[in-house]
Point group: C3
Chain length 368, copies 3
């Protein structure tokens, strides 16, 4: 199988071959696809993120974390503009003491002298120990991972979002946000573990532009690893969840239903995941005919919900999420942003094999 024939289907179940290409010594080396994460790896990453967050609370803990990877250097190769994902990764590097550098404006690069982008990335790989890559071309990160594998000094690639398909760190931070709120044992300082299936019996609504929203699609994929929950898709008929996801959920025995009335649905929800209209993908302004804000979440609607409702939004938001909810205790979208930072730190720590060191430190600090 040559790298050029790889089909980039974010929902395809990973072939053993593809996953193996991204591993080294039977362990994640590159992180490219959400499909690399099964329940065990999801739990491992969420526990690690939770431990790092707790350790970082003290100045001594911070010092421990910053000493872990200060001998590594990271390149943030962000060819697609993205301030918040960029800064989340940058902060994650800082938490672990990883000096980093960035390439964000391809026009200042020497590509103008006629170099291929493969050569550019290859040159950068000489200076760094990790490339965190956000790229508009689908499959580019995976292709570079294969290419670097063939070199004398391969370094890992961490996918920070490629084209419209894969954004595994976003999917994982969403899982972490749900687990933090659904699973009391994850926040147990002595034993941050999961008890059985924390999603069993939970009701989760996905609201808005489900057709084109990358985050809800990837999150559906990861939730299907667990199953046991009830998913409700609330959207304008034109923007419903894609048939490919529907079939995927059916295959995994995940209960799902549709609704057009968020007000009715919200009362039974344990979590609601709001999304904005992705009108940048419009072909000819077709979104303008849709009454999108009929599916908005307001302060008034939240009054009759469960007290433990988890309100999420990948941000940026528009009017679909009432700013008056910002200070509500059920609003978890700011925490969700911060969770991304901890999850990304966990992934970087895992890639460099310091997860066991973190677990040891954590046990020593909190179990006694």
């Amino acid at each position: 199988m040559t790298t050029d024939t790889v089909q980039y289907d974010p929902l395809a179940e990973p072939t053993a071959h593809r996953v193996a290409m991204l591993n080294r010594d039977d362990r994640l080396f590159h992180i490219i696809l959400a499909q690399q994460f099964d329940c065990e790896l999801i739990e491992t990453m969420c526990r690690l993120a939770e431990m790092i967050r707790n350790i970082a609370e003290s100045k001594q803990g911070n010092r421990f974390l910053r000493s872990l990877l200060s001998h590594k250097r990271a390149m943030l190769y962000f060819i697609q503009p993205s301030t918040r994902t960029f800064l989340s990764f940058a902060a994650s590097c800082q938490i672990l003491g990883v000096p980093y550098n960035e390439v964000r404006n391809p026009s200042t690069s020497s590509e103008i002298k006629g170099e291929t982008e493969e050569d550019t990335v290859h040159v950068l790989s000489q200076y760094f120990d990790l490339i965190i890559m956000r790229h508009p071309v689908e499959g580019f990160a995976e292709r570079m991972a294969y290419k670097l594998n063939s070199m004398p000094r391969p370094i890992p690639i961490l996918n920070g979002g490629s084209g419209k398909d894969q954004h595994p760190t976003q999917a994982m931070l969403d899982m972490y946000t749900l687990l933090r709120n659904f699973e009391p044992r994850l926040a147990d300082r002595a034993h941050p573990t999961l008890s059985g299936n924390p999603f069993a019996g939970k009701t989760i609504a996905f609201v808005g532009d489900l057709k084109r929203g990358r985050t809800v699609r990837s999150l559906s994929y990861l939730l299907a690893q667990y199953a046991g929950m009830r998913l409700i898709f609330v959207s304008p008929p034109e923007l419903g969840m894609g048939e490919d996801i529907i079939e995927y959920l059916d295959r995994h025995g995940v209960h799902h239903e549709k609704s057009e009335d968020l007000n009715e649905v919200i009362r039974s929800c344990d979590a609601v995941y709001m999304t904005r209209l992705q009108d940048e993908y419009d072909q000819a302004g077709e979104s303008s005919k849709i009454d999108y804000y009929k599916y908005s979440l307001t302060v008034e609607m939240v009054e009759a919900t469960k007290d433990s409702l988890v309100i999420m939004h990948p941000l940026p938001r528009r009017q679909e999420l009432d700013v008056r909810l910002d200070t509500d205790r059920r609003a978890k979208y700011w925490a969700q942003v911060r969770n991304g930072m901890w999850m990304r730190a966990a992934m970087i720590a895992y890639i460099f094999n310091v997860d066991a060191t973190i677990i040891d430190h954590y046990k020593t600090s909190y179990t006694a």
Copy 2:
């Protein structure tokens, strides 16, 4: 009082309410306004800046300083272009070991997806422990400070210049530059203190575009806290000091006078503060009719001055300040630049409550 009704008058004496909103536990939390600084806080900051500068002279001292705040992360949110203020803050962060990141080009931000800037800053606040903000909109920094105060995890905002009104770190570095030169006890390694009013009996000339120069206006405000000095305003008649400042000085009993002859005035001066023509604020090229460089300072003029004359300029300069003065011992404008770095480090240290630790370290190192 809602945040939207705040009037941004750089010269208004701070209402108790406004200052209290920026404090926490009766201590500066956000630094937004020059009006937050009274004589006691001015002295505290200048002493702290002086101690940090002295400690930083040794490698061991550097290590101590860099360990103080390495567990914090700062966001330099510089929406208004400013290389030198940006770098001064960046260096200050580095001195204290604070990892930082930056947002400088709003066009790469996700605001393009329709997000409000309040949301953007709010998201950034999730990754960082301090936001240093330079913004073209007057009052924006203060408004965000109030907004963050209402959130579960408020973080301080340090104003690096907002619109045409407030630039408190510039005003404080100017005070520090004057005090370093007027007050021998500030440089006393055992006891960096002030003795009485170091400005008593001093003559200070402000020269140039006093009407539109933000720095001379703010500095006038802070000097008025001390009073006791004689201020001389030397400017083209069209660019004289504003009536609001004049009234303010009168109210505080500060002696002031006007002159159009710098050559005559300079002999009696203890300090001269040169400024450039702010013609970017011209409505219709009216500056072009003014003989601005009649008020220039040259090598020849400095020959007959006091030996201890302090020549200042906020830079950048044009022809109003002779380049041949650069190597003159009375030229303090390069030191003034460097003073800004120490003053900003002092402010960051103060915000994070490590000022007492610095004072302790200093006493141990220099008093013995």
Copy 3:
């Protein structure tokens, strides 16, 4: 001699005066010109680069290196776009623990307010301890070095490439790449030294646009310090090596010859230095008439070469260097990139006088 009258001839043998101006206490202070390096300094720098590379292999070694200069701050003043040289210097700073900052986009600078660039650099010098400068104007770095020398707080300037003339760190990394491969004792962990003249009897081909390629010209200059080798210039007749270099080599007794047939030449080579067509310097598209890729290096051509052939290229490349060579053991152009990072770290360490500390550490670690 005023600074304005300096003639910037990259091949001029350095006058004693010019070199002395860049020294302090009889030691390199500013690094501006390839001509500052004689055989002894070349060897010193290459040994230091090799030691730093070896020390950096362990986490403990990394920590030692990062502690060396963490009390210094560097300014990367890159007015000429250059991603890879920028990142190489940035990584070098990170290896030595030097916090750095950058000015890369002059339009965000306050030069727009009418400041001279001398003033800008002067202001920056207040915040930093080293300026690494890449500038489009020939001689600007040297002029600023002289200017800073006259100030109360002079700091060193390291030339990262000025105009079309000088790029001393590139020339030195090329020397380091050749020496690493020609000289087994450089990689001797107990004694990284040179034995006699490692270039004696070696055959080195320079291929391509020798007329306008800055790297081959500078490298010729440094090789001439050693002599003893045979240089072969392979190029289209229109792009042959300049007469000034030819005369220089003659003066130093370096054997050189011309060829137009790379295929024939390559079999006798110990090293081949490929270069791309510098058509950005075309006056009127004259390069388009040249059959440049007649002088390409392919996988097939390499089959009959010495097993120890060193294939170099300053990158970026176009078609003159076959991508199928990338995984060949003789391809040293990726290593060459990485060598630049170690060489730049060596230069920064040398400027700040920590070379002896590194040598001591190295001896303790590897000689026992």
